[in-house]
Symmetry: D2
Subunit: 174 residues, 4 copies
């Protein structure tokens, strides 16, 4: 779970650039607080607009930063010209999201050229004390050389993936 | 998956009231579009503030309405003086969240006095056509007679639950 | 979830052949009772050797036939010269595995060239009455043209996959 | 994830007794190799009867010992007169189950009076070297004071639980 080598030296900037291009991260106020090969941490300060009916962080908010932390932990080990897609994830919420912030920490369990598995722990920070709030497992897919037309996050002129499910190995560039 | 009887006639208003008290639903612009015994539908119109780096609905947004649809499908079958907590959920994202709206439809698989299991299907609506975007399974817990101090969603004077994990059967009122 | 077209007409025999080559299916006494494009049903008669401490079907037994039903539902839509691997699955056990048999029914939610998602429902059959016992979601991977040396389930001379996680799109045949 | 206190000193014998009463563990040849407060390890030597079509441990076998390790990790922290039920679990299979044995190690993430969450790592042991084969998350439920009529694993005269889903807090003894 530790000691992975990134495939290219600029992995951290690549992760930060991608994170900065996700409008939903700005919407909720999430911050990318740490990136290392195979690891990622995201911090989310409390705001009432992020809560459920009891005043705690909404479960969907917990899931959002868990998913993103896993995605970028996986992406940090992928080749320069690639994209990452969430295939699936599962989250156990073991304590309420109560406190001044949430911290999601993800680490790659098994990196692969096509699929990567990552585990996630989300902590609720109250008065500076971290309490485990949720644990998750996620599967990510690497789309080699993929970008979307008109966007700046990959090589130009390639078709957009429909999803992880119809990316064909036969369709990938030789 | 069909034909459940609600335990009390006012279930739909109870669900709508709880939904209206979730600030995060207003933050993302989600609408509760259908409630029936053991079923719930939530609709989320597209907005660029809800997207990831490719311009599609963020996976965390998909998870948010999936989780909420399952929670309220379960809550519709719970007693009047109770609360619902998400224990865990799992989501497979099978197609990108692309289109003018997302629709999350959840239905109870097995209602229980303590635990309820629900399944969820999320559709991406593009030009009026629904495409399956995600499928999920979720476990919900019923907290009998629970409320939070100073809040109006339950009987007064009862302690707040720490979480599903430390609600004791011994602590429940006789 | 219905109406899938198989990629090759002999899909049912291919599924039956693969099932017959799984020693663990004989060990527990499971029977492949139905195969259709994108669907599979497995039946497991009760035997005391399959139980947990309360005399019900063991959760691992429920998981085994759920996993296999999903795998073969997916495999029924894959090309003739391919293998199927389980990437991950999740199972909610909603009632005890009590009765004279278990029935696992899986159907493909979204077939893909690389990844396929399937849903599973497992029923406990007691006195001929089916009761939902478990619900699951599973991700499967298609390994094109893959076989293991010395085995008869694929073209000869190709390397064995390490796992879904290190199958490279670059390694796949052009 | 460490340093839990058991509720009663005889926890290890209670776990071993329950394990010994599961006929399916004898069927597959699994051994309970370690029990500690909140932790459990199960070892499964290779046998051809446990394999899938490629000669590796079947995914259902991996799931079986993962589920059981999590169940007994949770059970080790439960009161003397109680039973444990699997509510749900999820497993990512990240490498083939290849080698002379499998090792499943589970540890409790969050113990609760009603629900407990546990994480599981399963290793394939080949030539004495352990390789991560699967990672899982599981939710367990404690049934206080529950036993089955005519069985010796709890106090006499109490009704059997239908399942985790219809155990009512109101039905529990005062």
């Amino acid at each position: 779970m530790t000691g992975f080598d990134p495939r290219e030296p600029d992995f951290a900037n690549r992760v930060r650039d991608s994170f900065a291009r996700q409008p939903f991260m700005a919407t909720i106020g999430a911050e990318l607080t740490d990136v290392a090969p195979g690891r990622c941490e995201i911090r989310l300060p409390y705001d009432r607009t992020l809560t459920q009916q009891h005043g705690f962080f909404h479960g969907g908010v917990i899931a959002t930063i868990a998913d993103n932390a896993a995605g970028y932990a996986a992406f940090s080990l992928m080749p320069a010209e690639s994209s990452v897609l969430t295939v699936e994830f599962k989250l156990n919420i073991v304590a309420p999201g109560r406190g001044e912030a949430l911290l999601a920490r993800a680490s790659v369990l098994r990196p692969g050229r096509t699929l990567t598995a990552a585990q996630i722990h989300v902590y609720a920070v109250a008065d500076g004390v971290e309490t485990l709030c949720a644990a998750g497992l996620e599967t990510l897919m690497c789309l080699p050389g993929v970008c979307l037309p008109g966007r700046d996050d990959g090589p130009a002129g390639q078709p957009a993936p429909e999803s992880a499910h119809n990316l064909s190995t036969k369709e990938s560039p030789p």
